[in-house]
Subunit: 253 residues, 2 copies
Protein backbone atom coordinates (compact mmCIF):
# COMPACT_ATOMS: atom_id res chain seq x y z
CA UNK A 1 0.00 0.00 0.00
CA UNK A 2 1.29 3.46 -0.97
CA UNK A 3 0.78 6.02 1.81
CA UNK A 4 1.41 9.74 1.36
CA UNK A 5 2.03 11.43 4.71
CA UNK A 6 1.95 15.22 5.03
CA UNK A 7 1.14 17.89 7.62
CA UNK A 8 1.07 21.64 8.20
CA UNK A 9 3.46 21.87 11.17
CA UNK A 10 6.39 21.21 8.84
CA UNK A 11 8.57 18.22 8.04
CA UNK A 12 10.62 18.58 11.24
CA UNK A 13 7.59 18.60 13.57
CA UNK A 14 7.43 15.89 16.25
CA UNK A 15 3.87 14.96 15.25
CA UNK A 16 4.67 13.77 11.73
CA UNK A 17 7.76 11.87 12.92
CA UNK A 18 5.78 10.09 15.62
CA UNK A 19 2.96 9.19 13.23
CA UNK A 20 5.39 8.00 10.54
CA UNK A 21 7.04 5.73 13.11
CA UNK A 22 3.67 4.19 13.96
CA UNK A 23 2.32 3.66 10.45
CA UNK A 24 5.51 2.65 8.64
CA UNK A 25 4.58 -1.04 8.72
CA UNK A 26 1.16 -0.38 7.10
CA UNK A 27 2.76 0.21 3.71
CA UNK A 28 5.29 2.29 1.78
CA UNK A 29 5.18 5.72 3.48
CA UNK A 30 6.33 8.78 1.49
CA UNK A 31 6.63 11.98 3.54
CA UNK A 32 6.10 15.24 1.64
CA UNK A 33 5.59 18.16 3.98
CA UNK A 34 6.17 21.91 4.19
CA UNK A 35 9.82 22.86 4.77
CA UNK A 36 8.65 25.34 7.42
CA UNK A 37 5.55 25.53 9.62
CA UNK A 38 2.34 26.44 7.78
CA UNK A 39 -0.28 26.40 10.54
CA UNK A 40 -3.39 28.41 9.78
CA UNK A 41 -2.68 28.73 6.08
CA UNK A 42 -5.98 27.07 5.20
CA UNK A 43 -6.33 25.85 1.64
CA UNK A 44 -3.74 28.24 0.25
CA UNK A 45 -1.87 27.30 -2.92
CA UNK A 46 1.24 28.82 -4.44
CA UNK A 47 1.09 30.11 -8.01
CA UNK A 48 2.74 33.55 -7.82
CA UNK A 49 6.14 32.04 -7.12
CA UNK A 50 7.75 28.72 -7.97
CA UNK A 51 8.08 25.83 -5.53
CA UNK A 52 11.18 23.94 -4.45
CA UNK A 53 11.46 20.34 -3.31
CA UNK A 54 14.33 19.37 -1.02
CA UNK A 55 15.25 15.88 0.14
CA UNK A 56 15.42 15.80 3.93
CA UNK A 57 17.86 13.43 5.59
CA UNK A 58 18.28 12.41 9.21
CA UNK A 59 21.23 10.23 10.27
CA UNK A 60 22.11 9.68 6.60
CA UNK A 61 18.62 8.36 5.88
CA UNK A 62 16.08 9.99 3.56
CA UNK A 63 13.10 10.79 5.77
CA UNK A 64 11.06 12.74 3.23
CA UNK A 65 10.71 15.77 0.99
CA UNK A 66 10.42 19.35 2.23
CA UNK A 67 8.40 21.71 0.04
CA UNK A 68 8.67 25.51 0.08
CA UNK A 69 4.89 25.87 0.06
CA UNK A 70 1.58 25.03 1.67
CA UNK A 71 0.20 21.62 2.67
CA UNK A 72 -2.03 21.64 -0.44
CA UNK A 73 1.05 22.34 -2.59
CA UNK A 74 2.73 19.33 -0.94
CA UNK A 75 -0.07 16.99 -1.98
CA UNK A 76 -0.07 18.21 -5.57
CA UNK A 77 3.73 17.98 -5.87
CA UNK A 78 3.83 14.58 -4.18
CA UNK A 79 1.37 13.09 -6.63
CA UNK A 80 2.53 14.82 -9.81
CA UNK A 81 6.30 15.01 -9.24
CA UNK A 82 7.59 12.91 -6.34
CA UNK A 83 5.75 9.58 -5.90
CA UNK A 84 6.34 6.93 -8.53
CA UNK A 85 2.98 5.28 -7.78
CA UNK A 86 -0.26 7.01 -6.84
CA UNK A 87 -1.09 6.93 -3.14
CA UNK A 88 -3.73 4.47 -1.94
CA UNK A 89 -4.39 6.76 1.00
CA UNK A 90 -3.25 10.25 1.99
CA UNK A 91 -2.75 10.99 5.69
CA UNK A 92 -2.23 14.51 7.06
CA UNK A 93 -0.89 14.78 10.60
CA UNK A 94 -0.35 14.19 13.38
CA UNK A 95 -1.27 17.83 13.89
CA UNK A 96 -0.13 19.44 17.13
CA UNK A 97 -3.52 20.82 18.19
CA UNK A 98 -7.15 19.95 17.53
CA UNK A 99 -8.85 20.88 14.25
CA UNK A 100 -12.50 21.09 15.13
CA UNK A 101 -15.41 23.42 14.36
CA UNK A 102 -14.68 26.48 12.30
CA UNK A 103 -10.95 25.90 12.71
CA UNK A 104 -11.32 23.16 10.09
CA UNK A 105 -11.54 25.97 7.54
CA UNK A 106 -8.30 27.59 8.70
CA UNK A 107 -6.37 24.35 8.99
CA UNK A 108 -3.56 23.47 6.61
CA UNK A 109 -3.72 19.89 7.94
CA UNK A 110 -7.32 19.52 6.82
CA UNK A 111 -6.66 21.42 3.55
CA UNK A 112 -4.02 18.84 2.57
CA UNK A 113 -6.57 16.07 3.08
CA UNK A 114 -9.21 18.06 1.15
CA UNK A 115 -6.75 18.52 -1.73
CA UNK A 116 -6.11 14.76 -1.76
CA UNK A 117 -9.84 14.04 -1.75
CA UNK A 118 -10.37 16.43 -4.68
CA UNK A 119 -7.65 14.53 -6.55
CA UNK A 120 -9.63 11.35 -5.95
CA UNK A 121 -7.71 9.71 -3.11
CA UNK A 122 -9.18 8.54 0.19
CA UNK A 123 -7.74 10.87 2.80
CA UNK A 124 -7.53 11.27 6.55
CA UNK A 125 -6.60 14.34 8.58
CA UNK A 126 -5.45 13.45 12.10
CA UNK A 127 -5.04 16.03 14.85
CA UNK A 128 -4.18 15.76 18.53
CA UNK A 129 -5.62 18.13 21.10
CA UNK A 130 -2.45 19.19 22.87
CA UNK A 131 -2.96 20.78 26.30
CA UNK A 132 -0.74 21.73 29.20
CA UNK A 133 -2.06 18.64 30.97
CA UNK A 134 -1.24 16.14 28.24
CA UNK A 135 0.91 16.37 25.13
CA UNK A 136 2.39 12.91 24.44
CA UNK A 137 2.53 12.76 20.63
CA UNK A 138 3.94 9.24 20.66
CA UNK A 139 1.03 7.91 22.67
CA UNK A 140 -1.43 9.88 20.51
CA UNK A 141 0.20 8.51 17.36
CA UNK A 142 -0.38 4.96 18.58
CA UNK A 143 -4.06 5.83 18.95
CA UNK A 144 -4.02 7.48 15.53
CA UNK A 145 -2.57 4.32 14.00
CA UNK A 146 -5.44 2.21 15.34
CA UNK A 147 -8.00 4.62 13.90
CA UNK A 148 -6.19 4.70 10.55
CA UNK A 149 -6.01 0.88 10.44
CA UNK A 150 -9.74 0.70 11.15
CA UNK A 151 -10.50 3.17 8.32
CA UNK A 152 -8.23 1.32 5.86
CA UNK A 153 -9.85 -2.01 6.80
CA UNK A 154 -13.28 -0.60 5.89
CA UNK A 155 -12.01 0.77 2.55
CA UNK A 156 -12.76 4.50 2.60
CA UNK A 157 -14.26 5.31 -0.83
CA UNK A 158 -12.18 7.26 -3.37
CA UNK A 159 -12.35 11.01 -2.82
CA UNK A 160 -13.65 10.61 0.73
CA UNK A 161 -12.24 12.56 3.58
CA UNK A 162 -12.34 11.96 7.33
CA UNK A 163 -11.25 14.50 9.95
CA UNK A 164 -10.00 12.68 13.06
CA UNK A 165 -9.31 14.42 16.38
CA UNK A 166 -7.72 12.69 19.36
CA UNK A 167 -8.49 14.08 22.81
CA UNK A 168 -5.81 15.27 25.20
CA UNK A 169 -5.54 12.28 27.48
CA UNK A 170 -3.63 8.98 27.73
CA UNK A 171 -4.83 6.19 25.42
CA UNK A 172 -6.26 4.15 28.28
CA UNK A 173 -8.46 7.07 29.36
CA UNK A 174 -9.99 7.68 25.92
CA UNK A 175 -13.68 6.76 26.06
CA UNK A 176 -14.03 5.52 22.47
CA UNK A 177 -14.87 6.87 19.02
CA UNK A 178 -17.77 9.12 18.04
CA UNK A 179 -18.84 9.89 14.48
CA UNK A 180 -19.59 13.61 14.59
CA UNK A 181 -20.60 16.63 12.57
CA UNK A 182 -18.63 19.88 12.40
CA UNK A 183 -19.48 22.45 15.11
CA UNK A 184 -20.49 25.18 12.65
CA UNK A 185 -20.62 28.33 14.78
CA UNK A 186 -18.36 31.31 15.30
CA UNK A 187 -15.72 30.92 18.03
CA UNK A 188 -15.80 34.72 18.43
CA UNK A 189 -12.06 35.13 18.36
CA UNK A 190 -11.10 38.76 18.87
CA UNK A 191 -7.88 40.76 19.05
CA UNK A 192 -5.49 41.93 21.71
CA UNK A 193 -4.53 45.49 20.76
CA UNK A 194 -1.02 46.46 21.85
CA UNK A 195 1.36 49.35 21.26
CA UNK A 196 4.89 48.82 19.94
CA UNK A 197 7.97 50.72 21.20
CA UNK A 198 7.40 53.29 18.42
CA UNK A 199 3.89 54.00 19.69
CA UNK A 200 2.12 52.25 16.82
CA UNK A 201 -0.77 49.81 17.34
CA UNK A 202 -0.61 46.12 16.47
CA UNK A 203 -3.13 43.34 16.91
CA UNK A 204 -2.77 39.73 18.03
CA UNK A 205 -5.54 37.30 17.21
CA UNK A 206 -6.64 35.71 20.47
CA UNK A 207 -7.69 32.07 20.51
CA UNK A 208 -10.89 31.08 22.19
CA UNK A 209 -11.27 28.59 25.01
CA UNK A 210 -12.83 25.91 22.84
CA UNK A 211 -13.98 23.89 25.85
CA UNK A 212 -16.76 26.42 26.49
CA UNK A 213 -18.47 25.49 23.22
CA UNK A 214 -20.90 22.60 23.49
CA UNK A 215 -23.39 21.05 21.10
CA UNK A 216 -24.28 17.38 21.16
CA UNK A 217 -23.14 15.38 18.17
CA UNK A 218 -20.36 17.78 17.18
CA UNK A 219 -16.60 17.28 16.87
CA UNK A 220 -15.77 19.77 19.60
CA UNK A 221 -18.06 18.19 22.18
CA UNK A 222 -16.82 14.67 21.46
CA UNK A 223 -13.19 15.76 22.00
CA UNK A 224 -14.10 17.79 25.09
CA UNK A 225 -15.75 14.70 26.56
CA UNK A 226 -12.73 12.47 25.91
CA UNK A 227 -13.79 10.70 22.72
CA UNK A 228 -11.94 10.40 19.43
CA UNK A 229 -13.97 12.45 16.94
CA UNK A 230 -14.34 11.25 13.34
CA UNK A 231 -16.07 13.78 11.06
CA UNK A 232 -16.71 13.02 7.37
CA UNK A 233 -16.10 16.18 5.33
CA UNK A 234 -16.93 17.28 1.80
CA UNK A 235 -15.46 19.85 -0.54
CA UNK A 236 -18.62 20.63 -2.51
CA UNK A 237 -19.63 23.80 -0.66
CA UNK A 238 -22.99 24.24 -2.41
CA UNK A 239 -25.71 25.11 0.10
CA UNK A 240 -28.73 23.16 -1.19
CA UNK A 241 -31.20 24.74 1.25
CA UNK A 242 -30.20 28.28 0.32
CA UNK A 243 -30.23 27.20 -3.33
CA UNK A 244 -33.95 26.36 -3.13
CA UNK A 245 -34.67 29.61 -1.33
CA UNK A 246 -32.94 31.96 -3.78
CA UNK A 247 -34.16 30.03 -6.82
CA UNK A 248 -37.56 31.61 -6.16
CA UNK A 249 -36.24 35.18 -6.08
CA UNK A 250 -36.92 37.59 -8.92
CA UNK A 251 -33.47 37.69 -10.55
CA UNK A 252 -34.48 39.87 -13.49
CA UNK A 253 -31.79 42.55 -13.44
CA UNK B 1 -26.93 50.54 5.48
CA UNK B 2 -23.41 49.61 6.62
CA UNK B 3 -21.39 47.84 3.93
CA UNK B 4 -18.00 46.25 4.54
CA UNK B 5 -16.05 45.91 1.30
CA UNK B 6 -12.95 43.72 1.09
CA UNK B 7 -11.03 41.61 -1.46
CA UNK B 8 -7.94 39.48 -1.91
CA UNK B 9 -6.23 41.41 -4.71
CA UNK B 10 -5.26 44.12 -2.21
CA UNK B 11 -6.54 47.58 -1.38
CA UNK B 12 -4.89 49.18 -4.43
CA UNK B 13 -6.43 46.74 -6.94
CA UNK B 14 -8.60 48.21 -9.73
CA UNK B 15 -11.44 45.79 -9.00
CA UNK B 16 -12.17 46.99 -5.47
CA UNK B 17 -11.94 50.65 -6.52
CA UNK B 18 -14.37 50.11 -9.40
CA UNK B 19 -16.84 48.21 -7.22
CA UNK B 20 -16.63 50.80 -4.44
CA UNK B 21 -17.41 53.53 -6.96
CA UNK B 22 -20.51 51.64 -8.09
CA UNK B 23 -21.93 50.72 -4.68
CA UNK B 24 -21.09 53.86 -2.70
CA UNK B 25 -24.65 55.16 -2.97
CA UNK B 26 -26.13 51.95 -1.55
CA UNK B 27 -24.96 52.82 1.98
CA UNK B 28 -21.94 53.65 4.11
CA UNK B 29 -19.06 51.71 2.54
CA UNK B 30 -16.01 50.84 4.68
CA UNK B 31 -13.08 49.36 2.77
CA UNK B 32 -10.81 47.01 4.75
CA UNK B 33 -8.53 45.02 2.46
CA UNK B 34 -5.10 43.39 2.42
CA UNK B 35 -2.23 45.87 2.11
CA UNK B 36 -0.67 43.59 -0.50
CA UNK B 37 -2.13 41.02 -2.90
CA UNK B 38 -3.30 37.79 -1.25
CA UNK B 39 -4.62 35.74 -4.16
CA UNK B 40 -4.75 32.01 -3.53
CA UNK B 41 -4.33 32.30 0.22
CA UNK B 42 -7.60 30.48 0.83
CA UNK B 43 -9.04 30.77 4.31
CA UNK B 44 -5.71 31.51 5.95
CA UNK B 45 -5.63 33.47 9.18
CA UNK B 46 -2.73 35.14 10.96
CA UNK B 47 -1.98 34.15 14.54
CA UNK B 48 1.79 33.56 14.60
CA UNK B 49 2.51 37.24 14.07
CA UNK B 50 0.63 40.43 14.89
CA UNK B 51 -1.41 42.41 12.39
CA UNK B 52 -1.17 46.08 11.44
CA UNK B 53 -3.89 48.39 10.20
CA UNK B 54 -2.93 51.38 8.07
CA UNK B 55 -5.22 54.15 6.85
CA UNK B 56 -4.96 54.45 3.08
CA UNK B 57 -5.43 57.88 1.51
CA UNK B 58 -5.82 58.90 -2.10
CA UNK B 59 -5.91 62.62 -3.05
CA UNK B 60 -6.09 63.53 0.66
CA UNK B 61 -9.18 61.37 1.10
CA UNK B 62 -9.40 58.27 3.30
CA UNK B 63 -10.27 55.43 0.93
CA UNK B 64 -9.97 52.57 3.40
CA UNK B 65 -7.82 50.50 5.70
CA UNK B 66 -4.95 48.29 4.58
CA UNK B 67 -4.28 45.21 6.71
CA UNK B 68 -0.98 43.28 6.81
CA UNK B 69 -2.82 39.96 6.61
CA UNK B 70 -5.27 37.76 4.75
CA UNK B 71 -8.81 38.57 3.54
CA UNK B 72 -10.24 36.61 6.49
CA UNK B 73 -8.06 38.69 8.86
CA UNK B 74 -9.49 41.83 7.24
CA UNK B 75 -13.07 40.82 8.00
CA UNK B 76 -12.28 40.00 11.63
CA UNK B 77 -10.36 43.25 12.16
CA UNK B 78 -13.00 45.31 10.37
CA UNK B 79 -15.78 44.05 12.60
CA UNK B 80 -13.88 43.92 15.91
CA UNK B 81 -11.58 46.95 15.59
CA UNK B 82 -12.40 49.29 12.71
CA UNK B 83 -16.14 49.67 12.05
CA UNK B 84 -18.17 51.56 14.62
CA UNK B 85 -21.37 49.75 13.61
CA UNK B 86 -21.70 46.12 12.51
CA UNK B 87 -22.02 45.61 8.76
CA UNK B 88 -25.45 44.87 7.31
CA UNK B 89 -23.75 43.13 4.43
CA UNK B 90 -20.16 42.13 3.62
CA UNK B 91 -19.03 42.24 -0.01
CA UNK B 92 -15.76 40.74 -1.24
CA UNK B 93 -14.57 41.80 -4.67
CA UNK B 94 -14.54 42.68 -7.42
CA UNK B 95 -12.05 39.86 -7.87
CA UNK B 96 -9.87 40.01 -10.96
CA UNK B 97 -10.57 36.48 -12.19
CA UNK B 98 -13.38 33.96 -11.81
CA UNK B 99 -13.77 31.92 -8.61
CA UNK B 100 -15.59 28.81 -9.70
CA UNK B 101 -15.35 25.09 -9.04
CA UNK B 102 -12.53 23.88 -6.83
CA UNK B 103 -10.91 27.32 -7.04
CA UNK B 104 -13.53 28.47 -4.54
CA UNK B 105 -11.50 26.61 -1.90
CA UNK B 106 -8.26 28.41 -2.81
CA UNK B 107 -9.85 31.84 -3.07
CA UNK B 108 -9.14 34.56 -0.56
CA UNK B 109 -12.10 36.49 -2.02
CA UNK B 110 -14.50 33.70 -1.14
CA UNK B 111 -12.77 33.06 2.22
CA UNK B 112 -13.47 36.66 3.28
CA UNK B 113 -17.15 36.14 2.51
CA UNK B 114 -17.11 32.78 4.34
CA UNK B 115 -15.54 34.45 7.38
CA UNK B 116 -18.28 37.10 7.33
CA UNK B 117 -20.98 34.43 7.07
CA UNK B 118 -19.49 32.54 10.03
CA UNK B 119 -19.63 35.79 12.01
CA UNK B 120 -23.34 35.99 11.17
CA UNK B 121 -23.45 38.59 8.40
CA UNK B 122 -25.02 38.16 4.97
CA UNK B 123 -22.13 38.10 2.55
CA UNK B 124 -21.45 38.18 -1.17
CA UNK B 125 -18.25 37.26 -3.02
CA UNK B 126 -18.12 38.83 -6.50
CA UNK B 127 -15.59 37.82 -9.12
CA UNK B 128 -15.10 38.80 -12.74
CA UNK B 129 -13.78 36.34 -15.33
CA UNK B 130 -11.00 38.42 -16.85
CA UNK B 131 -9.76 37.24 -20.24
CA UNK B 132 -7.54 38.62 -22.96
CA UNK B 133 -10.71 39.33 -24.91
CA UNK B 134 -12.49 41.32 -22.22
CA UNK B 135 -11.29 42.86 -18.97
CA UNK B 136 -13.37 46.02 -18.31
CA UNK B 137 -13.65 46.10 -14.51
CA UNK B 138 -15.76 49.25 -14.57
CA UNK B 139 -18.38 47.67 -16.80
CA UNK B 140 -18.27 44.44 -14.75
CA UNK B 141 -18.68 46.47 -11.54
CA UNK B 142 -21.87 48.02 -12.94
CA UNK B 143 -23.20 44.52 -13.50
CA UNK B 144 -22.03 43.50 -10.02
CA UNK B 145 -23.91 46.44 -8.50
CA UNK B 146 -27.18 45.30 -10.11
CA UNK B 147 -26.73 41.78 -8.75
CA UNK B 148 -25.85 43.12 -5.28
CA UNK B 149 -28.91 45.42 -5.31
CA UNK B 150 -31.11 42.48 -6.25
CA UNK B 151 -29.67 40.38 -3.40
CA UNK B 152 -30.07 43.20 -0.86
CA UNK B 153 -33.67 43.76 -2.01
CA UNK B 154 -34.51 40.14 -1.27
CA UNK B 155 -32.87 40.29 2.18
CA UNK B 156 -30.21 37.57 2.21
CA UNK B 157 -30.61 35.76 5.57
CA UNK B 158 -27.97 36.27 8.30
CA UNK B 159 -24.96 34.05 7.87
CA UNK B 160 -25.79 33.32 4.23
CA UNK B 161 -23.21 33.46 1.54
CA UNK B 162 -23.52 33.84 -2.23
CA UNK B 163 -20.66 33.39 -4.68
CA UNK B 164 -21.25 35.55 -7.77
CA UNK B 165 -19.22 35.25 -10.97
CA UNK B 166 -19.55 37.63 -13.90
CA UNK B 167 -18.61 36.33 -17.36
CA UNK B 168 -15.98 37.95 -19.52
CA UNK B 169 -18.17 39.95 -21.88
CA UNK B 170 -19.79 43.38 -22.11
CA UNK B 171 -22.90 43.90 -19.97
CA UNK B 172 -25.21 43.97 -22.99
CA UNK B 173 -23.98 40.54 -24.11
CA UNK B 174 -24.55 38.81 -20.76
CA UNK B 175 -27.39 36.31 -21.17
CA UNK B 176 -28.83 36.60 -17.64
CA UNK B 177 -28.41 35.01 -14.22
CA UNK B 178 -28.23 31.32 -13.34
CA UNK B 179 -28.43 29.88 -9.85
CA UNK B 180 -25.78 27.18 -9.86
CA UNK B 181 -23.97 24.56 -7.81
CA UNK B 182 -20.20 24.36 -7.41
CA UNK B 183 -18.39 22.29 -10.07
CA UNK B 184 -16.85 19.85 -7.60
CA UNK B 185 -14.20 18.03 -9.62
CA UNK B 186 -10.44 18.22 -9.88
CA UNK B 187 -9.10 20.70 -12.48
CA UNK B 188 -5.98 18.50 -12.74
CA UNK B 189 -3.54 21.36 -12.42
CA UNK B 190 0.01 20.13 -12.76
CA UNK B 191 3.49 21.67 -12.65
CA UNK B 192 5.96 23.07 -15.12
CA UNK B 193 9.38 21.83 -13.97
CA UNK B 194 12.24 24.20 -14.80
CA UNK B 195 15.91 24.51 -13.96
CA UNK B 196 17.37 27.67 -12.43
CA UNK B 197 20.76 29.17 -13.44
CA UNK B 198 22.36 27.17 -10.58
CA UNK B 199 21.06 23.91 -12.06
CA UNK B 200 18.44 23.32 -9.36
CA UNK B 201 14.85 22.36 -10.17
CA UNK B 202 11.84 24.54 -9.42
CA UNK B 203 8.15 24.04 -10.13
CA UNK B 204 5.45 26.43 -11.35
CA UNK B 205 1.84 25.50 -10.78
CA UNK B 206 0.11 25.59 -14.17
CA UNK B 207 -3.47 26.77 -14.40
CA UNK B 208 -5.99 24.75 -16.31
CA UNK B 209 -8.10 25.94 -19.22
CA UNK B 210 -11.31 26.09 -17.26
CA UNK B 211 -13.44 26.38 -20.39
CA UNK B 212 -12.88 22.68 -21.13
CA UNK B 213 -14.82 21.68 -18.00
CA UNK B 214 -18.55 21.32 -18.52
CA UNK B 215 -21.36 20.05 -16.33
CA UNK B 216 -24.90 21.40 -16.59
CA UNK B 217 -26.08 23.38 -13.60
CA UNK B 218 -22.59 24.27 -12.37
CA UNK B 219 -20.92 27.64 -11.82
CA UNK B 220 -18.24 27.00 -14.42
CA UNK B 221 -20.66 26.10 -17.19
CA UNK B 222 -22.91 29.09 -16.49
CA UNK B 223 -19.95 31.48 -16.78
CA UNK B 224 -18.59 29.69 -19.86
CA UNK B 225 -21.98 30.12 -21.54
CA UNK B 226 -22.15 33.84 -20.76
CA UNK B 227 -24.40 33.87 -17.71
CA UNK B 228 -23.81 35.46 -14.32
CA UNK B 229 -23.43 32.54 -11.91
CA UNK B 230 -24.84 32.80 -8.37
CA UNK B 231 -23.87 29.87 -6.12
CA UNK B 232 -25.09 29.64 -2.51
CA UNK B 233 -22.28 28.29 -0.33
CA UNK B 234 -22.06 26.88 3.19
CA UNK B 235 -19.25 26.57 5.71
CA UNK B 236 -20.51 23.45 7.48
CA UNK B 237 -18.34 20.90 5.69
CA UNK B 238 -19.97 17.82 7.24
CA UNK B 239 -20.65 15.17 4.59
CA UNK B 240 -24.02 13.73 5.61
CA UNK B 241 -23.96 10.88 3.08
CA UNK B 242 -20.55 9.69 4.17
CA UNK B 243 -21.68 10.14 7.79
CA UNK B 244 -24.45 7.57 7.33
CA UNK B 245 -22.05 5.20 5.60
CA UNK B 246 -19.30 5.22 8.22
CA UNK B 247 -21.75 5.19 11.12
CA UNK B 248 -22.33 1.53 10.30
CA UNK B 249 -18.63 0.62 10.41
CA UNK B 250 -17.21 -1.41 13.28
CA UNK B 251 -15.29 1.32 15.12
CA UNK B 252 -14.24 -0.82 18.06
CA UNK B 253 -10.52 -0.14 18.28
Amino acid sequence: MQILLTNDDGIYAPGIAALKHQIQNLGQVTVVAPAIEQSGVGHSITFSQPLRIREVHLNNELIGYGVSGSPADCVKLAVYEIMKKEPDVVISGLNMGANVGIHILYSGTVAAAVEAAIMGFPSIAVSFEITEQYADVNDASKVAKKVIECIIKHKLPKGSLLNVNIPSRPANQIKGIKITRQFAHDFKETFDKRTDPSGRAYYWLMGTDKSIHREDGTDITAVNEGYISVTPLRYDLTDQDLYKKIEGWDWDI
